[in-house]
Amino acid sequence: MTNHSSPDWKAFLLRFETLLIAVLLAEIFIFSQTAENFTTTGNALEIIRLSVELGLLALVMTPIILTGGIDLSVGSLLGLCAISFGKLWRDAGLPPWLAALCTLLIGAAAGGLNAALITRLKLPPLIVTLGSFSLFRGLAEAITRGVDNFTGFPASFLFLGQGYLFGVIPAQLPILVLAAIGIWLLIHRTTFGRSFRAIGFSPDGTRYAGIPVDRRVALVYILSGVFSALAALIYVARVGQAKADAGTGYELLAITAVVLGGTSIFGGIGTVHGTLLGLAVLAVLRNGLTLSDMPSELAGILTGVLLLSVLAGEALTKALSRLRKPAGAKSVAPTSQPKPQT
């Protein structure tokens, strides 16, 4: 894990993830009592299957938030990529695999737009991606005149979202697993990825240390675009149609999963396994509530309450641990949060 932080942070972080696991186990236990067919392998696989798109977005959102940035445009980009794929396949007549490849490139280009504005013009990621959030969705609506709905994709493509390998494993699951492993390795095992946290803590300091901050930040936003495109492809395959409103609201869910997983929105602190835990907590919550015949609104309310409780708990623990330290003792890590980079 982190090797530049004081023992205080390490202990605290361990505690936070334990808290998440406890929440997850509590959910599983409660739902096993109240929900029909909750504790079956089939359901577990379904939960994962339905979370793949969100999972991809949350995974790529983690390094972005680690660097102290944010990307509000991922949901809208999903929509734009979805209809782009549809248009390339139906109107340009490209075979699905080629259309998919082009879609990934479109995603990368869109991510590149964000990256350029953020790194070249030094604009705050919150605002840039707020603008592209509207722009991408708007383009999707404009291209399809809002109305166009691409359907009738070949079964070989639809297998990606609806098929089961060996009859049991959802076809999109390996993609999520690969992505998760990839992002985890990137952030936790490469010096490249380790620099993200440094960038989040202090971009200037990192720059003075000789690390090409702008290039790495740019790469992360481009990666976000590619992941949004990938998520779009899986979404279209799963639902069987591509419309301009695909992915609405996904950006906030992704951010929720990441923050719930212990990544600090200010940057510098966070883990990929934390994000996956956060994602699991959210997905299990939604699934369990529906299986317990509870209305959808409850999922939203509980998500909000959960997020606040976990963060309030984290804040209180931090405050308490600071009080417990003997007066005059200093920790290596800064006691006040670094400047918010949003």
């Binding site: 929900a35 029909e36 067919n37 109305v147 069987g240 301009a244 409103d245 695909a246 609405t248």
Partner: protein, 326 residues
Amino acid sequence: MKKLLTALLSVSVVLGAAGTGNAADKPLTIAMMPKSKGNAYFISCRKGAEQAAKELGVKLLWDGPTEPDPAKQNEIVETWITRGVDVIAVSVENREGLSTALRKAKDKGIKIITWDADAEPDARDFLINQATPEGIGYTLMDEAAKALGDKGEFAIITSSLTAANQNEWIKNIKQRLEEKYPDIKLAALRPCDDLKDKAFSEATAILNSNPNVKVLMAVCSPAVPGAAEAVKQSGRKDVKVVGLGLPNENKRYVHDGITTGVILWNTEDLGYLTVYAAKAVADGTLKPGATTLEAGRLGSLEVKGDNVLLGKPFIFVKDNIDQFNF
């Protein structure tokens, strides 16, 4: 990370041993889903549905998307498949998209019926048809033409540009327009995102930018009172409103003479009939080849092919709107 997942799965399997036990005879479970839950139209459908459920002694699950995510209906259906319900009755937002999930449910032995808005015919057993998109579109166009005196300009306010139902109706409206009313022109089409206040703003702008528009056609329920209020506040007596909406929200404008026709059907009856049909499909009473369906207080209703017919669209006007309360 992978270790975590395995650990969690094994824990849950262990807990599964202590999981829910199945009761010996469970009541029939009907899972009913509106297009979205934040709509007064569906509240009244739900009322009728719950009434029927009580009469029949079945368990009614009512859930639907609260978020604008169009794939949310899919997710809920997929989860219901896992839960194991007997019948799924859904008002379909995305025809092709949801049909994917519905077919899957059908393969698992769950009966599927649609109401209010249809899926693809092979994805469901029966459709509870209150009015075809053609019937709705044509009636709307005819009402608008009546208010226009068969010539002039009108404008449409729809919910969102991507809403499947509305787009289906608009297609039929345009078809009727082309076939029957050569002297009428569609001047503008604007979305209101299902918000009454936005419908108001759009209607005001349309009235001011298109002085020749004499009829506003609102094809989603919040837009009917929104557009009517815009007409009222503009002070123009020569503009009328027709639309698809609920009687209660529109009574004041119908009595003011602004709204000349509110088109709907008895939504409570629709919900009521859906539950009766769901039970009938589940216990085999309603199967291919049937010509009638007994539906409680509604009596005997006609079944045509795979459509259960509630009736034709109903037009609320000044003389009859006060009789209804929903």
